[in-house]
């Protein structure tokens, strides 16, 4: 279990390799990569966060996933700073003995991260106009569906 907040890009293959090195108890690895979507005039995006609280919230979300599903390992990497369309933003990796736990835990981590981790996105369009991205209600709904009893 690990969380990282960084400016640099990440290498999905290298991260999976590091997570699974020397392990023979893992039967399923799920990775999710979120990237900057272009279109609608977005030229760049700046990600700001609350240092200290961000890492704490990500670790809390990860610990919650480990209670709900039998995970052999997990990783959350989230980038901050200025990113461009096509750039990686976030990586979630979950490892379990079986695929369902790995799939579900990865979806849970993303849904929770989106509503709890203190990150804020500002978009910059080609004319230099800045705009803070608004939170979506659908993200709250996605996180809500995990409420209730643990799945384990």
């Amino acid at each position: 279990m690990a969380v990282r907040v960084q400016r640099e890009d990440f290498d999905v293959g290298a991260e999976v390799k590091r997570l699974t090195a020397g392990r023979t108890d893992i039967g399923a690895i799920v990775t999710f990569t979120g990237t900057v979507r272009g279109g609608s005039g977005v030229a760049a995006m700046t990600l700001e966060h609350y240092p200290g609280m961000t890492e704490q919230e990500l670790a809390r979300v990860e610990a919650e996933a480990a209670v709900r599903w039998p995970l052999q390992g997990s990783l959350i990497v989230h980038r901050v700073g200025t990113l461009r369309p096509g750039d990686n933003i976030v990586l979630v990796v979950t490892a379990s003995a079986h695929r369902q736990a790995a799939f579900d835990a990865a979806a849970f981590l993303m849904d929770y991260l989106k509503t709890r981790a203190p990150f804020w996105k500002k978009e910059l369009d080609a004319d230099g106009q800045e705009r803070w991205v608004e939170a979506r209600e659908s993200d709250d709904d996605a996180a809500e569906r995990w409420a209730g009893a643990p799945n384990r």
């Binding site: 609350y50 991260l113 981790a117 203190p118 804020w120």
Partner: protein, 85 residues
């Protein structure tokens, strides 16, 4: 009570600073009280908190509701709904 306030994203931009240390008058007991008090501290604060119920809060780096008591807090952060991921 003296407490450190942190502002993020458009809350920070509207207020014009990232953090400050404030001396709160007696009677400011909850996050909602704090926001109401801040709104009276100048037009930039009034503007930042103009839309009721939008700004979120964390006390000592944990999410809290508007009714949360602030007694004993070292650091209170005020920010828009988060948009990471």
């Amino acid at each position: 009570m003296t407490v450190k306030l942190l502002y993020f994203a458009w809350v920070r931009e509207k207020i014009g600073k990232a953090e400050e240390i404030v001396d709160l008058p007696a009677g400011v007991a909850t996050v909602a009280d704090l926001v109401a008090w801040l709104k009276e501290q100048g037009p930039e604060y009034a503007e930042a908190f103009a839309r009721p119920g939008v700004v979120r809060a964390a006390i000592d780096r944990r999410h809290v509701q508007p009714a949360a008591p602030i007694a004993g807090a070292r650091e209170i952060a005020l920010f828009p709904p988060v948009t990471g991921g």
